[in-house]
């Protein structure tokens, strides 16, 4: 976690400094420099954090960690080989950043009983949780829950919609409590 946050903090500090330097002699900054085309205020985005307060590493589309969905085959509850690298990347992040927590939400397609689907979605979330745990993520960093068929990503009623909805999503929360859940 430190490795990640230090550049972010430095950037934030430098940005803060750049707007507030006061000359040693006490003279104010030239008035004209504030009333020109520039407001004299440099807009700064807090370095490395996105709108939800998570490190950009987790949400930047260029980062593997921004991939949060693991898809499952019909009636299947095991993490497929093609997602092993993705799970490993999240495990690596979580073992290196023990203050971060994840909520794994399992989902199913719309067919069948809502409550039974809730339990099937739980099985998918649980499979992802187990994979993360096997790679060293601590139990208190992961909660696996199910949304069953209640929150479809694709509201359609055909196989292509259903395959998008057979899914587990990983949501992150930063040590300061900000994040996606």
């Amino acid at each position: 976690m430190k490795k990640l946050l230090i550049p972010a903090l430095l950037a934030a500090l430098l940005a803060a400094c750049s707007t507030t330097p006061l000359p040693e002699d006490g003279a104010g900054a030239p008035v004209e420099s504030r009333s020109g085309s520039s407001s004299g205020v440099t807009p700064v985005t807090a370095g490395g954090l996105d709108a939800s307060g998570l490190p950009r590493e987790l949400t930047d589309p260029a980062s593997k960690l921004s991939q949060r969905s693991i898809y499952f085959d019909l009636d299947k509850y095991e993490v497929k080989d093609e997602y092993k690298d993705l799970v490993a990347a999240h495990a690596k992040y979580l073992t290196a950043n023990k203050g971060f927590k994840v909520l794994v939400q399992g989902n199913t397609d719309e067919r069948g009983s809502r409550e039974y689907n809730l339990s099937l979605g739980q099985k998918r979330a649980e499979a992802v949780k187990r994979s993360l745990a096997l790679l060293g993520v601590k139990d208190d960093q992961i909660e696996s829950v199910s949304l069953g068929e209640e929150k479809p990503k694709n509201p359609g009623h055909d196989e292509s919609a259903w395959s998008e909805n057979r899914r587990a999503d990983i949501l992150y929360k930063a040590p300061d409590g900000r994040g996606e859940f």
Binding site: Y116, L118, S119, V145, L147
Partner: protein, 423 residues
Amino acid sequence: MSRISRRIFLAVALCAAGLAQAQLSIEITGAGANRIPVAIVDFPGDAAASRVITATVRSDLERSGLFKMVDHAGLAFDENAAINHADWKGRGADALAAGSIARSADGRMEARFRLYDTQKGVSLGGAAYVTSNTQLRAAGHRIADYIYEKLTGEKGVFSTRIAYVVKSRGQFLLQIADSDGQNAATALTSSEPIISPVWSPDGGRLAYVSFEKKKPVIYVHSLASGQRHIIANFKGSNSAPAWSPDGRKLAIVLSKDGNSQIYSVNADGSGLQRITQSSGIDTEPRYSADGSSIYFTSDRGGSPQIYQVGAGGGEARRVTFEGSYNVSPRPSPDGKSLAFISRREGRFQLAVMDLASRQVQVLSDSNKDESPSFAPNSRMILIATEIGGRGVLSAVSSDGRIKQRLTVAAGDVREPAWGPYYQ
């Protein structure tokens, strides 16, 4: 299952304009083969009140599918008038109800009525109900319940209420309505899903699963006060609440130890006890009518099937064997049958098992039946199904003959729960 070609369309007036978008309308799509012909004359007294009460009685009886209304020819007479039984017999009525409406000393309305057997030319009894002016329909439901019980020998359920969830414009509304779909009121509005509402046996509270905390959590909600408290928010998912018949406990499903397993908990959330121990999924618990056992869905045999276990745990016994997907068990309040959802050739259909003979009858011809719920007299089963891509509720008699459809104008309606008898 017998196909009933007769279709009666009952227009339920939806005059409450403010509630129109959430009001249930009911259409009867099948009726009993031998309906009892009954005449309900107008009740003298307050004409407006009489219209509300007698219209409620007539539409309740007609909607049940067990009665046929005989034209009362605009006649009005009270419960003490002399009855020309031969005349009413001649009009085709086997039974006749007459009554009166009067203002009681405290300013409320008093509806009195008497029911007659025109075949035998005798009174079958009568009653008086006092209500406020805004509760006239309730008096009508009580009268209809009385008539229903006298003529069929079973308790009526017209005075009961139903709960269901409407999804409309991205919002989820937990609503309560009278059994005829009128008087709909919203108990809870949420931007996150609400599922699995179940009535406490005293009819005062609902337990349900809400996703407002980004995960399923079980709440108990007191309808009169609007107070809600969490009874299960363990790590993982918390779902599928079911009240014990005495109202003291709930069976619930938790995934705190891995997969979904059944636990019981006191109604205040204390006293957690694990009931099932399997490596797979155990869910959808429902107490048997006598409270001694719990029916549930489990995939322990490789496919989801219905099992039964003692209310305190122990060895589970498999109940369903036909087919590869039998879920959502609902034992009837009279203890005689078990409603559930069965997948047959890719279609999810309502089925009922006679618990004595273990015979199974499929009661619907739809594709997406869900969440069955028995009326407290065990005669009707309310289910969620889909018509034209929209969620609707459907009520089917436990012999499959009588069918009603309940729709909401602007939304999907699902997750029905039929409340207990009026108390």
